[in-house]
């Protein structure tokens, strides 16, 4: 793992891995969406609105995966001071927040025809909204700490680990508590979803996950390039002063 601690080696790998993830993700995600939206069946009770699931579930998964990425990177940052950990955490935040917002919006659009309401304050919806606010808070803190303690990322790393408590709460909210939101349809090795919905959904999840990975790699490259440019400017400024 510490082999990747060298940013130069990371950049060499990211240079070809990033376009690969982006390209494959684009093809798989939009192929799955096309399959689900145009060729998949309508649902018995929900009718055509079931098709929102092909965007909603991948978005929910990646919103949560984004924070799991922040938490894992924060752990590496705090314990091993891994030089890329803070950068990886910062790269996960924006895509994670975007997917969380997409999940909330698509869920609301589905809830109106299916449940008869745009929004209810049940355990699942509330904890997902809390996740979005955690992302906003984390991004603000990360920017502030970058400006103040020279990118040491201590405070955001602690916040990232503490905020991870919300992830199991989101997942188990529909199991622990009575809620408006239904229980999970797909659990390990079992599906309450007919194959005609399940396969395009799993494909969409794979595709959006690849796109997410591509975004994170691209953002990490951008942050590293930015840091290099700043370091060079600083050296130049020092050179000019002497």
């Amino acid at each position: 793992m510490h082999g990747f601690a060298n940013p130069a080696r990371f950049l060499r790998i990211a240079r070809w891995l990033m376009p690969l993830c982006m390209g494959a993700g684009f093809v798989v995600a939009f192929g799955a969406l096309g399959w689900g939206l145009f060729f998949g069946p309508a649902e018995r009770l929900q009718g055509e609105t079931v098709r929102i699931v092909y965007l909603h579930v991948p978005a929910a998964w990646l919103g949560m995966a984004g924070w799991m990425g922040i938490a894992a990177a924060s752990f590496m940052e705090l314990v091993w001071r891994h030089p890329l950990a803070g950068i990886a955490a910062r790269a996960c935040a924006v895509p994670g927040a975007v997917f969380t917002a997409v999940c909330l919006i698509t869920g609301s659009l589905w809830g109106r025809p299916a449940w008869g309401t745009w929004w209810v304050w049940d355990g699942r919806l509330t904890s997902m909204l809390v996740l979005l606010f955690l992302y906003f808070g984390w991004m603000a803190l990360s920017q502030a700490s970058e400006a103040s303690d020279g990118g040491r990322n201590r405070a955001p790393a602690i916040f990232g680990l503490v905020g991870a408590v919300n992830i199991p709460i989101i997942h188990y909210s529909v199991i622990w508590w009575n809620s408006q939101h239904q229980a999970p349809s797909i659990t390990v090795g079992k599906s309450a979803m007919a194959g005609a919905f399940l396969w395009p959904l799993l494909l969409a999840m794979l595709g959006f996950t690849l796109l997410f990975a591509g975004c994170v790699l691209a953002r990490m490259r951008a942050i590293l390039a930015n840091q290099q440019a700043e370091a060079r400017l600083r050296r130049k400024a020092l050179g000019a002063a002497y």
Binding site: V79, W115, G116, W177, S191, A194
Partner: protein, 171 residues
């Protein structure tokens, strides 16, 4: 010259000490962080456990019958719409049905437009209050979708048939 060589040796010794120091510090940080995480997760689980009743979005019929809320207090009742219980009253807009959870049954009355997913044998969340004679007076009905996704082609099958088809297709 001599002096600078001595300096270099000293710097090297110091560097070695720092390396050992950082390995020890790493272990310390790892242990501290793992303990902190365990405590944090324990606290979160305790909080979730304490919230298990308060954080529920609705009461099920068994809870309503065991601890009836005082009449007039706004509560939510959730469960399945009992098969064969849904009736439209003479005025054409008031409906009456029973909500059941396998243990108890609560009669419900509602006047208004129902969501499209509201059917017998499906989940419902009714917002309202307990009225006279143990009838729940609902002001608002929300349909609850369950975790089963069944294509429209199977809609004429009974639930059992559809579940059998799904078992065969999805393993």
């Amino acid at each position: 010259m001599q002096e600078s060589a001595e300096n270099m040796a000293q710097t090297e010794r110091m560097a070695k000490g720092t390396v050992q120091g950082t390995i020890k510090a790493k272990h310390q940080r790892l242990v501290l962080l793992v303990i902190a995480l365990v405590v944090l997760i324990g606290a979160a689980l305790l909080a979730a456990w304490a919230l298990r009743n308060q954080a529920s979005y609705f009461y099920v019929p068994a809870e309503i019958q065991a601890h009836p809320p005082e009449s007039g207090r706004a509560v939510r009742l959730g469960g399945m719409v009992a098969k064969g219980s849904l009736k439209t009253e003479a005025d054409g807009v008031t409906i009456a049905f029973a909500v059941e959870d396998g243990k108890a049954r609560v009669p419900v009355r509602f006047k208004g437009i129902v969501p499209s997913l509201f059917v017998e044998g499906s989940g419902v969340v009714a917002e309202g209050h307990m009225g006279a004679g143990g009838v729940f007076e609902a002001d608002n009905l929300l349909a609850k979708h369950d975790e089963n996704y069944v294509p429209r082609e199977m809609k004429d099958m009974t639930r059992e048939q559809a579940e059998k088809v799904m078992r065969e297709t999805t393993r």
